[in-house]
Chain length 408, copies 2
């Protein structure tokens, strides 16, 4: 059976998929490629269309959406699903925003929607959550889901670079954009956690509801402290279920040497899933790049070809509706350049001075941290979760060892 395939977008990911299909099964190459920018220099051996209706109104079987603009991506995917097509997307922002509606369209019109490449790029985490954890009860999912941030943290720990130097190097090596803000503030991690949360727990928590702190304020003294404790700092996305509900949070987090997340370096991503039946499952793979991401798209294509669709078994047939996450209590290290900067978050808590920074250790709820995000940003507070890898007392003892003045 030959599939007529339409492709939107021919950027890094689109070219990765194209390359793989060309070398493996040319019948899985797109019949039509629609791109937006008429002035961009492109491969002259390929024919491009600039008119989306060349796919949307054509008798195509499978539509692949690999563009960066989430608004445009939504229009294409929406339209394809309304025609009952099989659709593949890698647009995490769009998916995180519109999954409830898209799943309704899938059901109503008999199409299907696969999106393995939208979270953790080359790792088959969505497919595994969807079909390997059937009938299982997942209690916790933790992941390193942003290759740029992880690359930057590797440079801080391995090469003693400052954050600014590490960001620059990430840009030079193609792991961060010219404007690195979105790479370092964790903003794409929350989209991914929304998507994974739906598959792991059957709950749709809009990404705006998730506490998200990136690596933007991690400083060299944090690295010194973590190293002195034998730990590393990773940008960890956590979704954890207990009797009260599902809590989600993303923030720099201490990781101990016996945790498989400890060895995830550079542009690699990882996910650790704890469940009733399977114990602890761990997945690690490339979180970015043309071929790894294109490979996930290509794997989706071979699944779509066979009629595979996600089961969403954790939804138990329920309609997807947005839910609020449960607030969770976190032990965190808070540090800043001045005692003043720490004040809004350290009422009644000891502040310590060491290694040119001011430090406090606090137990704080994710709800409170969300409220404090403007202060965290303005005062450039570094917030690092202890994550049960070390006791507050041990961290304090380390800080006090390097303490110059005990302030109150």
């Amino acid at each position: 059976m030959t599939n007529r395939i339409g492709l939107f977008g021919f950027g890094v990911v689109g070219q990765g998929y194209y390359e793989i299909a060309k070398n493996d099964r040319p019948e899985l190459l797109p019949e039509t490629i629609v791109v937006q920018n008429k002035n961009k220099e492109r491969d002259h051996s390929l024919q491009f269309s600039f008119d989306p209706t060349d796919i949307l109104d054509a008798p195509c079987d499978i539509g692949i959406e690999l563009i960066s603009d989430p608004v445009q991506a939504y229009d294409y995917v929406n339209s394809l699903l309304k025609s009952g097509k099989k659709v593949i997307s890698a647009n995490k922002k769009m998916l995180a925003a519109h999954l409830p509606e898209l799943l309704e369209l899938e059901k109503a019109y008999g199409g299907s929607l696969l999106y393995e490449a939208s979270a953790a790029a080359g790792i088959p985490i969505i497919t595994c959550l969807d079909c390997h954890f059937a009938g299982d009860h997942i209690s916790k999912l933790q992941g390193i889901l942003n290759g740029s941030s992880n690359y930057i943290l590797s440079r801080l720990f391995q090469d003693d670079l400052s954050l600014q130097e590490a960001v620059k190097l990430a840009q030079e090596n193609g792991f961060a954009e010219a404007d690195p803000t979105l790479d370092i503030n964790g903003s794409d991690v929350s989209s991914k956690l929304t998507i994974l949360g739906l598959h792991a727990f059957g709950k749709y928590i809009p990404e705006g509801e998730i506490l998200t702190i990136g690596v933007q304020h991690v400083h060299a003294a944090d690295v010194t402290l973590a190293k002195s404790l034998g730990l590393k700092i990773k940008l960890i996305a956590t979704a954890q279920k207990d009797k009260d509900g599902l809590s989600l949070h993303i923030l720099p987090t201490l990781v101990s040497a016996n945790d498989p997340l400890f060895l995830v370096e550079n542009e690699y991503n990882a996910a650790k899933v704890t469940s009733q039946n399977l114990g602890e499952q761990f997945f690690q793979g490339k979180g970015a790049g043309s071929l790894p991401t294109g490979a996930s798209v290509y794997a989706d294509l071979t699944k779509a070809e066979k009629g595979y669709g996600y089961s969403y078994d954790k939804l138990n047939g329920k309609k997807v509706t947005p839910e609020q996450p449960q607030s969770a209590s976190l032990e965190v290290i808070i540090s800043a350049d001045s005692q003043e900067a720490l004040k809004p978050m350290t009422d009644g808590i000891s502040i310590h001075q060491a290694n040119g920074k001011y430090w406090a250790i606090s137990t704080v709820s994710t709800a409170e941290l969300i409220k404090q995000l403007p202060v965290i940003e303005t005062n450039k507070l570094s917030i690092i979760a202890l994550n049960n890898t070390v006791s507050k007392e041990n961290v304090l003892a380390q800080i006090q060892q390097q303490e110059t003045v005990n302030i109150n």
Copy 2:
């Protein structure tokens, strides 16, 4: 659609699957359970049959084979496939021996055969190799595929136990059989590597052709040496493809601290796959146990229900025929209690005495090691692969540091 399911065997794995189905979707419970031993004490709330034809001649849709006897298992699976049924098996010995024939039956009669639980228990490695590496070229697969051996090595490294003490503890904790021979000599790892090799490389190498050395001769001085180099010893199964062909070998192997295999402890299993498109993918999960293994069977069941079958895309449609592996050259540490014991394998190589053992470092082919297996067994030679984690020179320097007499 309701599936009529027949189950052969109600041991540890069968009970795990049963438990999961009961709590998740009772319609996926077996209609008939056939067991062999009439005298065994069993759950009185369940009805058992002792007649295989209650499944084989009944109008069942899916047959699940979870017995230990590979000969009997083959008969059941063969018969089910000849009736065009969907079949799930966890019998690694049977599968490794009969896959070529069973795949022909699958094609000829339109049934399907899934067997995720047969390798690395709870890790979805077969499904991932089959559908996530579509169109990819895998160059190397390395795995920790035996929970008992890994548990024993963890005890040697973490608790300084002797091999005998560790085996005893593994038995007490249910991680090794009363007769531990099959657990420690690597014999079930070769079945698993045969199965994984077919999915990763499209080549069927019968397990008897694979160099297989277990942990049976690893001694405390090996542990001391590895520790002094900052390394661990793991029982690593390797399948590696180069221009000359595919080589496979299983033997105790040095693993460095930056390798994700380093952190795989106790009954956990792992697989590391290196490929052209995806770079390095790593999977870790429970390699044994009722629920983890039962969960893989249950996941197969939900896949079979949807009509999912393995694609075997690495076969490119070719018929599966047994092939010889390519011999590979390995750098190994060889040690024994006496200089005499080392002699057959150390012609012209320096022998060193340290820590109560005699040592040599040699470069030897897997073909030669297979020839020497009787000597290795008789002389209780410990053979440990360097695996490019450390240079011969560094190992020699460490041995010489502890050397008491330089012999020749």
